[in-house]
Amino acid sequence: MHFHKYEKIWLVFGIVALTIFLGVVGVSAFSHDHTPAGGMHTIDPKKVNETAPFDKPGVTQLDDDTYQVAIVAMAFGYTTPEKLRVPAGKEIVFHVTSSDVVHSFTIDNTKVNMMAVPGQITMKSYTFTEPGKYLILCNEYCGTGHHMMFNEIEVY
C-alpha cells in the first residue's frame, strides 16, 4: 500500500498526538483519581427505602474531613429529609440511586454529574471550594415532569 510522504508525516503526527493525549487522560484518571461517577454496588430497586444508606437519606458526617450524602432520585424529585447543607473544603461522597426510572443527579457549576440507575448505586467524591447555593437538576429524561425535577444544595 502506498502512502504519500506528506500523508505519512500527517498520520505520524496524528498518532503521536493521540498517544500523548490518551496518556494524559489515563495518568490523570488512574494516578490522580480523576475518574467519572460510577460504582459497582447494586441494590434492590423495590427496597431502596429500607436499604442503607438510603433508609436515612441526607447528609451524614463520617469523620472530621468526610461527609456522606445519600440521595434517592424519583419521578420527579430527590428524597431529602431537610435542606441539603454541606461544608466547603471537605470531601463529600455522594451515593445516588433511583427508586423508579433512570434520572441524573447533577449539581450545576461542579463536576458532579451522576446517572441514577434503578438497581445500581452511583458514587462520586467531590470537594466544594466555594460556599453558595447550588442548583441540583435532573438531566436525563424521566417523564412529563422531568423539567420540574430539581433541588438545591447549600455549601457553607
Binding site: 500523508e7 496524528g14 463536576k111 438497581g119 437538576l137
Partner: protein, 550 residues
C-alpha cells in the same frame, strides 16, 4: 442510466426519507419555540412526544431510508442492474421497514411511546413501539442481504477482481450495520418485548443500556459512512479528478468496522455498573477512529489540491479558488465537511473520560450531534439529493432549482451555526438536554445561563426557524425534481451520477477479504465487552418494574 425498476426502488426509499424529514423538522421547529417559552402546546400534545418524534424521524428514519436509496442507485450503477430475486428481496425489505416505521410512529403520535429514541428502560412504552423498532431493523437487514447478494453475484462473475469502490464501501457499511444491530436486537427481543407484553415482570436496566449503546455508537457511523462514500467517490468527480488513493480509501473504511463498535461505554461514562478499567479501555478504542478520520481528511484536501492545480491554481493556496464553487453539488458537500471539523473535535471532548462529566447530557451534546449528523451527514445527503433525484426521475435540475439549492444550503448553514453554537455554550454553562422549558423556579444559575447574546433561547429559536425555512426549501426542491421539473430530453440536460475513477492497480487484495475484518471486529468486541457484560449479568440486581411516567 440504471434499470427503471431499480430507479423506482431507490425513489421509493428517498420518498419515505423526505416524508420523515418534513415531519421531523416540523417537530424541531416546535421544540425551539417551546424552549423559548413562546408557545404552549395543547393538552393532548407533550414536548417529549414531539422530541421523540423529532429524534426517531430524523436520526433513524430519514437517514436510513436515504442511505438505502443511495446504496440501491450506486450498487445498480457500479455493479449492473439488479436481478429479479435481488429486486424482490429489496422490496420485501423496504415494506417491512416501512411497516416498522409506521407502527413506531403511530405509537409515538398516540402518546404511547414518549420514551425518546433511546427508549431507556424502565420507561415502558407500548409493546408495539418496540415491535415497530424491531421490524424496522429486520427490514433493513432484508434490504442489506439483497445488496450483499447482488455484490456476491458480481464477485462470482468477476473472480479475483476487487470490486468497484462504491460497492466495496456499501458492503463495509452494511457489515458495520449488521454487527451493530445485534446489540439492539438482543435487548429488544430478549428484554423489552417479553417485559412490555407482560411475560416477565422486571427488566435489568443497566444491561439494556449497555446493549443499546453497543448499537448506539456504530449507529452514528452507519450515518456517517455513506456521507464519507460521497466524499471519497462522488466529490473527486465533481472537482474533475480521480480518487486520491483507492487502497487508503478502502483501508480507512475497514478500520471503521473495527473501531466503531467496541466503544459504546463512552456513552455511559457517568453511570454505575461498569468499572473504570473497562470504561477507559473503550475510551482508548473510541479514539482509534481518529486514525481513519485523519486519513479521510488528508485524502479530501489532497483531492481538492490536485483538482485545483489542474485547473491552473498557483502558489500555496491558489488551488483553493479554482474549485467548482458555483456547482451546488460540490459546495454543499464542502460546507458539510467544514462543519465536521468542529463536530469531530467536539466528539473527542465528549469521549475524553473524566471530561465527559462536564458535558454529559447537557445541551452541548445536542449542539454536537447537530454539527455531526445534523450537518456533515444531512448536508452531504442534501448535496446528493440535488442530482440523485433528477438522475432517477430523468428530469432536469434547472437553473432555478440550482439557485434555490444555494439558498437552501446557505440558510441551513447559518441556522445551524446559530443554533448549535447557542447549544454548545448553554451546555458548557450547565443547561440540560432533553428538557422542556424550565427556569427551575427562577434559580439564579438558570437565569445566568440564558443571559447571553449567544447563550439564549432567542438565538436558538432564530437558528431553528432559519433551519425550518431551509428544510421547506429542500422539500420544495425534492417535490419539483421528483414530480414537476421538465423531463430532460437533450443529452446536455441529462443529470449524471458523478462517480469518480479509482485506480485499483496497486490495491492489495486482502483489503477485500471480509473474513479478516469481521474476525478482528468480533475479537475486539469480545475483548471490550465479554468480561464487563458477563459481570453485569452475573451480579445483576433484582430487576426494575416498568413505569409510564408521561
Amino acid at each position: 442510466m440504471i434499470a427503471a425498476q431499480d430507479r423506482k426502488l431507490a425513489l421509493s426509499n428517498i420518498g419515505v426519507a423526505y416524508t420523515a424529514f418534513l415531519l421531523g423538522t416540523l417537530c424541531g421547529l416546535l421544540q425551539v419555540f417551546i424552549r423559548n417559552d413562546a408557545i404552549q402546546l395543547p393538552a393532548w400534545l407533550d414536548y417529549y412526544q414531539i422530541l421523540t418524534a423529532h429524534g426517531v424521524l430524523l436520526a433513524l428514519i430519514f437517514t436510513t431510508f436515504f442511505i438505502f436509496g443511495f446504496f440501491v442507485t450506486g450498487m445498480s450503477k457500479s455493479l449492473g442492474n439488479f436481478g429479479p430475486k435481488v429486486r424482490l428481496v429489496s422490496w420485501i425489505g423496504f415494506w417491512v421497514t416501512v411497516i416498522g416505521t409506521v407502527l413506531a410512529t403511530a405509537m409515538i403520535v398516540s402518546g404511547e411511546a414518549s420514551v425518546l429514541y433511546t427508549f431507556y428502560a424502565p420507561l415502558k412504552a407500548s409493546g408495539w413501539y418496540y415491535v415497530g423498532l424491531a421490524l424496522f431493523v429486520v427490514g433493513t437487514w432484508i434490504s442489506s442481504f439483497a445488496l450483499v447478494s447482488h455484490y456476491m453475484v458480481w464477485r462470482k462473475t468477476n473472480k479475483g477482481q476487487l470490486s468497484p469502490l462504491f460497492a466495496f464501501m456499501t458492503i463495509t457499511t452494511i457489515i458495520l450495520w449488521l454487527i451493530a444491530c445485534l446489540g439492539v436486537v438482543a435487548t429488544v427481543l430478549f428484554q423489552y418485548i417479553p417485559w412490555t407484553f407482560g411475560w416477565v415482570d422486571t427488566i435489568d436496566v443497566e444491561l439494556s443500556r449497555s446493549l443499546f449503546w453497543y448499537f448506539g455508537h456504530p449507529l452514528v457511523y452507519f450515518w456517517l459512512l455513506p456521507a464519507y462514500m460521497a466524499w471519497y467517490v462522488i466529490v473527486p468527480k465533481l472537482v474533475g479528478t480521480t480518487v486520491f488513493s483507492d487502497s487508503l480509501a478502502r483501508l480507512s473504511f475497514v478500520l471503521f468496522i473495527l473501531f466503531s463498535i467496541p466503544v459504546g461505554f463512552h456513552h455511559q461514562l457517568t453511570e454505575p455498573g461498569i468499572s473504570n478499567f473497562w470504561k477507559f479501555l473503550q475510551v482508548m478504542l473510541t479514539f482509534m477512529v481518529i486514525i481513519p478520520s485523519l486519513m479521510t481528511a488528508f485524502s479530501m484536501f489532497a483531492t481538492f489540491e490536485t483538482a485545483g492545480r489542474k485547473n491552473g491554481g498557483k502558489g500555496l493556496f491558489g488551488w483553493f479558488t479554482k474549485l467548482p464553487w458555483k456547482d451546488i453539488r460540490f459546495t454543499s458537500i464542502f460546507v458539510a465537511m467544514a462543519f465536521f471539523i468542529p463536530g469531530g473535535a467536539g466528539g473527542i471532548i465528549n469521549a475524553s473520560f473524566q471530561l465527559n462529566e462536564v458535558v454529559h447530557n447537557t445541551l452541548w451534546v445536542v449542539g454536537h450531534f447537530h454539527i455531526t449528523v445534523g450537518t456533515p451527514v444531512a448536508m452531504t445527503f442534501m448535496g446528493l439529493t440535488f442530482w440523485l433525484i433528477p438522475y432517477l426521475t430523468g428530469r432536469k435540475f434547472t437553473k432555478a432549482m440550482q439557485k434555490l439549492g444555494f439558498v437552501q444550503i446557505v440558510t441551513w448553514s447559518v441556522g445551524m451555526l446559530m443554533m448549535s453554537t447557542a447549544q454548545h455554550v448553554l451546555g458548557l454553562l450547565g443547561a440540560p438536554r432533553r428538557t422542556a422549558f424550565s427556569s427551575y423556579n427562577n434559580h439564579a444559575s438558570t437565569l445566568e445561563w440564558f443571559d447571553g447574546i449567544i447563550s439564549s433561547h432567542v438565538t436558538m429559536a432564530i437558528g431553528g426557524s432559519i433551519l425550518f425555512l431551509s428544510a421547506m426549501l429542500l422539500i420544495y426542491i425534492v417535490v419539483m425534481t421528483m414530480f414537476l421539473s421538465p423531463k430532460a430530453v437533450k443529452e446536455k440536460d441529462m443529470v449524471e451520477f458523478p462517480m469518480a475513477e479509482s485506480g485499483k492497480a496497486s490495491t492489495p487484495k486482502f483489503l477485500e477479504n471480509w473474513w479478516i475484518w469481521i474476525g478482528i471486529a468480533f475479537a475486539l468486541i469480545f475483548i471490550a465487552y465479554a468480561i464487563p457484560l458477563g459481570d453485569m449479568i452475573q451480579h445483576a440486581p433484582p430487576g426494575a418494574e416498568g413505569l409510564k411516567t408521561w
